[in-house]
């Protein structure tokens, strides 16, 4: 018989506000096995934990039930407490009377009644708990970073600096991501390339970092410390180690009319191309959909002009298998399509552009060599209208756009407006806004400078319709503060398009079994306390794949993720999860049902000799679970026809005891 102590937490008023904690402690005192019951304001505090340790010693407790917040919050905390008191940490059960009781019920009587039942279920379970010891597994001391934008670059550099090898997988031919496309960065206005490209070079030169560009993650198996990853290196038809990046092939390529992705289609590139001058790796890539040689064997000029002999038209996709201890997701974002917002005429006029396109138009390496010229006729625009919140903050019932605030648009629009006025003081700049959101260091000051020093005209209201007519864009909008409908003849309209996670994130999440929210942003293990970890152990989050972020925030998160990875990789062994399946060999008949449902191949069979009652021996085939491989899902326990397979920590009799306690 266990000697169980029950500890009911008030969580300030979070629990005590709707649950009579004293009554709960009192009621649970009479449950079988309970020898001690107490309540306290904050069980998770030092004092609360000491109270548990004292009680364990004083009352010789063998099991602990804490009625408190969700086990996802503090189960680990109380397990450590139990360990400190000399108990096996797995002799602790949590009754979730906050998230699943006091916070969802309003009435004290109902809340208390339910809390008692949840407590009883936990007591019933602890009565059947057995001490568990986690197994250990080795850690592969190498990290994988998926995505080579500023987030991935920073994470990789930090991990590599700590001495661990890192691989970056980037789906584009070069690393650099969105930041490489930007002109200046807010609120300091330093040039994006000046601060990013040195980091790209650092990555290229770092002996601990390998870059798999033009590559994608194909498959992920394994678990924290021991991931097996297959990386598909797409054929670029150029030998990376031979190409010198001289660009002779690019110059001579006859296919010159391919929309240039790096400039968002605002100019053209060749079929063999280097995305931009500072690309890393600086290696040419052949676009197989555009190259005549690859499509029909008629050309081959690049091969002839390449003095290094790097061109290889027969190159095939290559699969690389590698082991990693930790994986960092840094897949980033994209602006959303403007198709559902054509009242702004994005698809009707070349002179309606997105903010990212505006970045390219003002970038010295962009299609206009940094001169602000409108795309339709390459004339200098004299009136520019910026529209904020295009596709952000939309209600789901409006069936277009995103519900969230994209966070970065207010600031980059202020930047665009300010830079335009600075360089071209003859240009009128209007910004239509719903709210200007500038929470960040020196952000509001920056926005105010745009208004006060640069004379940008901020108008509270939204644009309703953009009508291209002749050379003008007729903008019809609200001026809410003056209660007017205003009409502006603009030369250029810039839409601050909402941002969304990269499309590759969703299939990647499935491969990683990492969870996502309804917007396809990766979810964090805890929104406040574990913001850079995914709930899946060993998978970490860096940058905008977790939510909209500006560059400083992305870099902080990238470094934070790196710190977490380093903390994992310095360990030689990882304690596993002891809640794994175990087969009772006396009951097992070796039918293989469990093996067939196991997603990890953790179950094997062996022939074992059994002594029979008549003193003969008999060899029988029985199942064996490899505890280092088993992840504890429990699929096998249900598949087992003889009931031999059970899951430690979630055993059949334990769950049944919970059911009984709830249904009593």
């Amino acid at each position: 018989m266990q000697r169980i102590g029950v500890f009911v937490c008030w969580c300030g008023s979070n629990i005590a506000g709707t649950v009579d904690v004293k009554a709960v402690a009192e009621a649970l005192k009479n449950e079988p096995g309970v020898v001690y019951s107490a309540n306290y304001q904050y069980m998770c505090s030092q004092a609360g934990q000491n109270m548990i340790i004292e009680a364990v010693k004083e009352h010789k407790l063998t099991g602990i039930v804490v009625c408190s917040c969700s086990p996802r919050m503090h189960e680990a905390t109380f397990r450590k407490t139990a360990e400190a008191a000399g108990l096996n940490p797995y002799m602790v059960e949590i009754a979730n009377i906050r998230e699943q009781c006091s916070w969802v019920h309003k009435d004290m009587a109902t809340g208390t009644e339910k809390a008692i039942i949840l407590g009883k279920a936990a007591v019933a379970k602890v009565n059947l708990n057995a001490p568990l010891t986690p197994g250990e597994s080795p850690v592969t001391k190498r990290a994988l970073v998926i995505g080579g934008g500023i987030a991935g670059i920073q994470t990789a550099l930090d991990i590599a600096e700590a001495g661990f090898p890192v691989d970056i997988v980037e789906k584009n031919p070069t690393i650099g991501g969105k930041m490489a496309q930007l002109d200046k960065t807010f609120p300091t206005l330093d040039c994006a390339a000046c601060i990013l490209t040195p980091k790209m070079v650092d990555v290229a030169q770092h002996e601990k970092i390998r870059i798999f560009s033009y590559s994608e993650v194909e498959d992920v198996t394994g678990f924290v410390g021991n991931f097996d990853v297959k990386i598909k290196k797409r054929a670029r038809f150029v030998k990376e180690d031979v190409c010198t990046g001289c660009g002779a092939c690019v110059e001579k390529c006859p296919m010159k009319k391919i929309p240039n992705e790096f400039n968002l289609g605002m100019n053209n590139r060749t079929a063999i191309y280097i995305p931009f001058a500072q690309a890393v790796p600086k290696v040419a890539t052949i676009d197989a959909n555009a190259c005549n040689m690859i499509k029909n064997g008629k050309c081959g000029i690049c091969s002839k002009v390449c003095t290094a002999g790097a061109i290889d038209y027969t190159q095939k996709d290559e699969i690389i298998s590698e082991k990693y201890g930790a994986i960092v997701v840094a897949t980033g974002f994209n602006p959303i399509s403007m198709d559902k917002f054509d009242e702004f005429a994005y698809n009707q006029s070349k002179d309606v552009i997105t903010s990212l396109e505006f970045e390219r138009l003002t970038n010295a390496a962009g299609p206009t060599a940094g001169k602000l010229l409108r795309p339709s006729d390459l004339e200098h625009p004299h009136t520019i209208v910026f529209v904020q919140c295009v596709g952000s903050r939309c209600a789901s019932c409006a069936e277009k756009g995103k519900e969230y605030c994209s966070k970065i648009c207010c600031m980059y629009t202020a930047k665009h407006a300010m830079l335009t006025r600075d360089k071209y003081p003859d240009t009128e700049v209007y910004v239509f806004y719903i709210d200007v959101r500038t929470p960040g260091k020196n952000f509001d000051e920056f926005y105010r400078r745009a208004v006060e020093e640069y004379g940008v005209k901020y108008i509270k209201g939204m644009v309703g319709k953009v009508s291209p007519e002749g050379k003008k864009l007729k903008v019809q909008a609200s001026d809410l503060l003056n209660n007017k409908q205003i009409k502006i003849d603009a030369d250029l309209v810039v839409l601050a398009a909402a941002i969304e996670p990269d499309k590759s994130a969703r299939p990647l999440a499935t491969k990683l079994t990492a969870s996502m929210d309804t917007n396809d942003f990766f979810t964090e293990a805890h929104p406040k306390l574990r913001p850079v970890e995914s709930p899946t152990a060993g998978v970490f989050l860096s940058g905008a794949c977790q939510g909209p972020k500006d560059i400083p925030e992305t870099v902080s998160q990238a470094s934070a993720a790196a710190a977490k990875v380093i903390g994992l990789l310095v360990k030689d062994k990882l304690k596993g999860n002891p809640c794994v399946a175990r087969s009772n060999e006396l009951m097992c008949n070796g039918c293989s049902s469990c093996e067939r449902v196991c997603p990890y191949g953790a179950i094997t069979y062996e022939d074992k000799e059994f002594r029979m009652p008549d003193r003969t021996t008999k060899v029988r085939r029985i199942a064996k679970v490899n505890p280092a491989v088993c992840q504890g899902c429990g699929a096998c326990t249900v598949a087992c026809p003889s009931g031999a397979m059970d899951l430690q920590g979630f055993a059949n009799n334990q769950i049944m005891a919970e059911v009984d306690a709830i249904c009593k």
């Binding site: 917002f341 698809n347 009707q348 953009v466 007519e469 002749g470």
Partner: protein, 257 residues
């Protein structure tokens, strides 16, 4: 191919052209339009009030008749199309439908498929087939398609095309061999029934549309709506405004017979 056909009251009177050419063209394209028996006026505009059934009964009766005969329903007039399609959508709500059905004494659940004549051309016949049947292509004619508001909005119900950058009329114009003229205000309102309440307001709205079309180089405006045509013409459109069915009949060579 046979369809139920709802002409609507204006097409029997001031907009006889719209109806006549629609029928002739349908015949030429091998489509049989069977007029709904004893149809009643749709009321011209859809009343958005959730608590009104009386204003929706005539549409429900037409929809129900088409369903009983086993045909999809075709409309030509933008206004009728808008009212009938919105009513059909409202009837997909069980609570609303039960009120209407109780009154009408018949059961209708909003499942009749409603095509605007343009959708019939695009989705059933196909613009490529229309193109094949054109004997008199309107080469070089610069035509501004005018959608107005009724064909496109509310988009969630009408679902005809992208409400902000529609293509169906442009594709129609190309099919009959002419050149569509792009102008942004093709989906803005002409002023509609406000013509009776405030002539000046209707004039402003209409001019915004017709001037935009003229400035973009159009020689003629086509529409599917008698009220749009009235407003544009009355308020001094500098170019002619005609029904799309007239152009179709001309291109198919059936205008005069």
């Amino acid at each position: 191919m046979k369809f139920s056909y709802y002409p609507g009251c204006t097409l029997k009177n001031k907009a006889k052209d719209l109806d006549e050419y629609a029928r002739k063209s349908a015949l030429a394209l091998g489509v049989e339009l069977e007029e709904i028996e004893n149809w009643q006026c749709c009321g011209g505009v859809f009343t958005t009030a959730k608590d009104e059934i009386a204003t929706k009964l005539s549409s429900v009766r037409a929809l129900k008749q088409a369903q009983d005969k086993g045909y999809d329903l075709v409309t030509v007039c933008s206004a009728c199309h808008n009212v009938i399609k919105q009513t059909n959508f409202a009837m997909q709500d069980e609570e609303f439908a039960s009120k209407v059905n109780n009154y009408n004494g018949e059961v209708y659940d909003g499942s009749t498929k409603v095509y605007h004549y343009l959708e019939l051309l695009r989705d059933v016949i196909g613009f490529d087939k229309v193109k094949e049947k054109v004997v008199n292509p309107l080469k070089g004619k610069k035509i501004a398609p005018y959608y107005g508001c009724l064909l496109l909005r509310p988009n969630g119900v009408m679902k005809m095309d992208d409400p902000e950058n529609p293509k169906i009329m442009e594709d129609f114009i190309r099919a009959i061999g002419a050149d569509p003229v792009y102008y942004a205000n093709r989906n803005e309102c002409c002023g509609g029934y406000v013509a009776l309440e405030d002539a000046e307001q209707a004039k402003q709205s209409s001019n915004r549309v017709s001037n935009n079309a003229v400035n973009c180089g159009a020689e003629v405006i086509v529409t599917a709506c008698p009220l749009c045509k009235y407003n544009l013409v009355k308020n001094g459109s500098k170019i002619p405004v005609i029904y799309f069915t007239e152009l179709l009949a001309e291109a198919l060579g059936v205008k005069e017979n």
